[in-house]
């Protein structure tokens, strides 16, 4: 681990130190993936209203052409990853388990460009409103994991004064190195993207938070950051340092109250990948149709980082990495702490897929869950100051109202509690269920 000094004096309470395992892929430069014969693009890749389909079966499309437009304000369009024909409008298994509507694009091999977005070379001379429109048109969403439409975060209500933009380059999830490579290889894009976002928000105070286990990334960013007046912060290595509220605390010393949003304390947080996508959308007129994905794990023959287009099946991504050494016991989209276990390799890359992780039999715990012994370790590590053990017992007895009173909705599912639980309790699964039930109830009440 690096001994580089930390640039912050305040850190969140709790947290854990899982084995990092980043060395598997961190030294592998991002490679372009060869063109596939077909891409199965899931249409609803963001949080919010589903997009409205613009193409029909048999249509020929160009690379970058809009397949579906935003279906509301909190929504985002989807663009074709290559040129070809829409072979089918069907369904595709999504990373969360549900079957989702998708467009199967058959590639014509030419990969000819057909984006309707004009590059804006000199963006400083363009109105911020125009830049925001571009971000929204290019389908940029939060690429750290939540896939929240980017332009919504850039449109705070007038009574919320934003003064700080924080870029999230913490990448605290074990195994993942996509953001790390991005910051090393494209620091100028990351910084310029940050500057564009700051222009849209009208803020001067920009900082990039990077965990101290990526000292080269910090150095490289620092070389470019001064040009845009960006502060690069090296943060203490502790999971989940990259969680939004925890990062805001480390970077600005502000605490986001329970149930509140970063904008309530004057902050906006964007992932470094999102900043890159913003830079590309504005300067190159390129909609979000590919992203850096870490394909890693001990069973993988040649772990590494690839620029994969949306709609690339996990099986194809694995082929790029040379296949597997031995059969994996678990395939995860995302990191080992917060990622989603997959049932099939037909699941395709989405805008928020930061990694495809394979775990071997010896790495997957198969312990029987036991009753809570009230040791309180989960309470010690919970970065949101919740009582995970108590909450899990409430959920087990289906007392969702009680769990709501104990702020289960603040749980961000970081998995720290389950990581330390000596009784191997599936705590996060309990909380996910509780959150789903409470959300369902709230929707019912609203109706």
């Amino acid at each position: 681990m690096s001994s580089s000094p930390h640039d912050s004096h305040v850190y969140f309470k709790g947290g854990v130190h899982p084995k990092e395992e980043k060395a598997l892929a961190s030294s592998r430069p991002v490679k372009d993936a060869p063109l596939l014969e077909s891409y199965n693009v899931i249409l609803h890749q963001h949080i919010g209203a589903p997009p409205k389909l613009l193409v029909k079966k048999g249509d020929s499309v160009k690379k970058g052409q809009m397949l579906a437009e935003a279906g509301g304000f909190v929504s985002s369009p989807i663009h074709s990853p290559t040129s070809g024909t829409v072979k089918a409008l069907g369904e595709c298994p999504g990373p969360m388990g549900a079957v989702m509507a998708s467009a199967l694009i058959d590639s014509d091999g030419e990969d000819s460009w057909g984006s309707q977005l004009e590059p804006i070379e000199n963006w400083t001379s363009v109105a911020p409103e125009e830049l925001k429109k571009r971000v929204s048109k290019a389908g940029v969403v939060g690429m750290g994991g939540a896939a929240f439409p980017c332009h919504v975060k850039l449109s705070p209500p007038p009574d919320k004064k934003i003064d700080t933009l924080i870029l999230n380059g913490a990448e605290c999830e074990p195994f993942l190195t996509a953001d790390h490579r991005l910051m090393l290889e494209n620091p100028e894009k990351v910084c310029e993207g940050a500057a564009i976002i700051a222009t849209i928000l009208g803020v001067d105070n920009i900082c990039i938070g990077v965990e101290a286990n990526k000292p080269e990334a910090v150095e490289t960013l620092k070389e470019h950051a001064s040009r845009f007046g960006i502060k690069v912060m090296s943060l203490r290595v502790k999971y989940p340092q990259g969680a939004e509220k925890q990062l805001i605390f480390a970077a600005s010393g502000r605490k986001v109250p329970a149930g509140a949003l970063p904008m309530d304390v004057g902050c906006v947080v964007q992932n470094v990948g999102t900043a890159t996508a913003v830079a590309e959308a504005v300067k190159e007129g390129k909609p979000l149709l590919e992203r850096v994905v870490t394909v890693t794990g001990n069973p993988v023959k040649e772990p590494g980082n690839w620029k994969l287009r949306l709609g690339t099946p996990a099986a194809k991504a694995l082929e790029l990495a040379g296949g597997v050494k031995y059969p994996p016991a678990k395939v995860i989209f995302g990191g080992p702490m917060m990622g989603f276990a997959q049932k099939t390799l037909q699941v395709t890359v989405m805008k928020n897929t930061s990694g495809i992780l394979l775990l071997g039999d010896d790495e997957v715990s198969q312990f029987e869950s036991m009753p809570c012994i009230r040791c309180g370790r989960c309470v010690d590590v919970c970065p949101m100051n919740l009582l995970p053990g108590t909450l899990s017992v409430m959920v087990e007895s289906e007392e969702f109202g009680l769990a709501e009173n104990y702020n289960v909705m603040d749980c961000m599912e970081c998995g720290s509690c389950a990581f330390v639980c000596p009784s191997f309790r599936p705590l996060v699964q309990h909380f996910r269920r509780a959150k789903a039930e409470i959300n369902a109830k709230r929707r019912k009440v609203k109706k």
């Binding site: 298994p93 969360m96 388990g97 549900a98 079957v99 016991a329 989603f340 276990a341 997959q342 049932k343 099939t344 198969q366 029987e368 869950s369 599936p426 699964q429 309990h430 996910r432 269920r433 789903a436 039930e437």
Partner: protein, 277 residues
């Protein structure tokens, strides 16, 4: 002696005054209740299950007495109990049809593939949050007994990863219908003679891969049945429960995968499994 008398007298006086106030209040604030409501409540099962759509048995009794509903609105009551209430009140019993729940899936562990090794929370709702559930079929019964736990009458049991409804115990309260994350449970008329035990809208070929007893959409039953009895919804045949076919449809249709069954045959299959286990 004098002080003791004073105490007794004082207490008697206070008691008299308070008694007058309470007596007066009882007269002034008297709420007239229908004594029949209490009697009808007595006649109802008292399970407070809510299947009638009201907060409990006494609320339902109030509704019957006020003529807002008929006694047959209680699905738990036997026909005799309904008739008793009807004669007591001198109202129509109503021609309510007894309904029972049916789980429209036939793929237990031996018939439907398990996609992943799952050792999380033993609950269908929680399991469906992990990659959509352990079963390869994204629509089939997860067999983790959320419905059985929700049933106040112990009418559902899980054998070999599949939920079965005991028609003699099921009262049609519909609690299981609400908890099933896959919406497999339907309330149907108790006299339905045949069900299609499959709910997957996938194409036949896809379904065959993950389940031996799925409806492959061959339309045999659709053709064998009289018009309107069985409907095709894409690749899935569905029994029209307002006009369901008789037992003979099972023989006539000769369902190639055997997902068209009578409820009895379905339970027989279950008994076989139970004996084997």
């Amino acid at each position: 002696m004098g002080s003791a008398l004073l105490a007794v007298g004082l207490m008697a006086g206070v008691g008299l005054v308070l008694g007058c106030i309470i007596g007066g209040a009882a007269k002034i604030f008297f709420v007239k209740t229908d004594p029949r409501i209490e009697e009808v409540t007595e006649m109802l099962p008292g399970a407070n299950c809510g299947a009638c759509g009201r907060a409990g048995c006494s609320e339902f009794a109030k509704a019957i007495v006020n003529g807002e509903t008929t006694p047959d609105g209680c699905p738990v009551c036997s026909m005799e109990a309904v008739a008793r209430i009807a004669t007591f009140l001198g109202v129509e019993a109503g021609s309510g049809q007894k309904k029972v729940a049916v789980v429209l899936c036939g793929g237990d562990h031996s018939k439907a593939a398990q996609g992943i090794r799952y050792n999380g929370v033993n609950d269908c709702v929680s399991a469906s949050l992990v990659a959509g559930g352990p079963k390869e079929c994204p629509y089939g019964c997860l067999g983790l007994a959320s419905c059985a736990r929700a049933c106040p009458f112990d009418a559902i049991e899980i054998i070999n990863g599949l939920a079965y409804v005991h028609n003699d115990l099921c009262v049609g309260c519909g609690k299981c219908v609400d908890v099933c994350p896959r919406n497999l449970i339907k309330l149907v008329p108790a006299d339905t003679r045949a069900h299609i035990y499959c709910s997957s809208p996938d194409k036949g070929g896809v379904k065959r891969k993950y389940c031996e007893v799925s409806c492959i959409g061959c339309r045999k039953c659709f053709k064998a049945a009289e018009e309107g009895q069985i409907e095709m919804d894409g690749f899935l045949a569905k029994v029209n429960y307002d006009n369901s076919p008789g037992t003979e449809i099972v023989g006539k249709a000769a369902c190639p995968t055997g997902c068209l069954h009578t409820p009895e045959a379905h339970m027989k299959e279950r008994n076989k499994k139970e004996n084997a286990a």
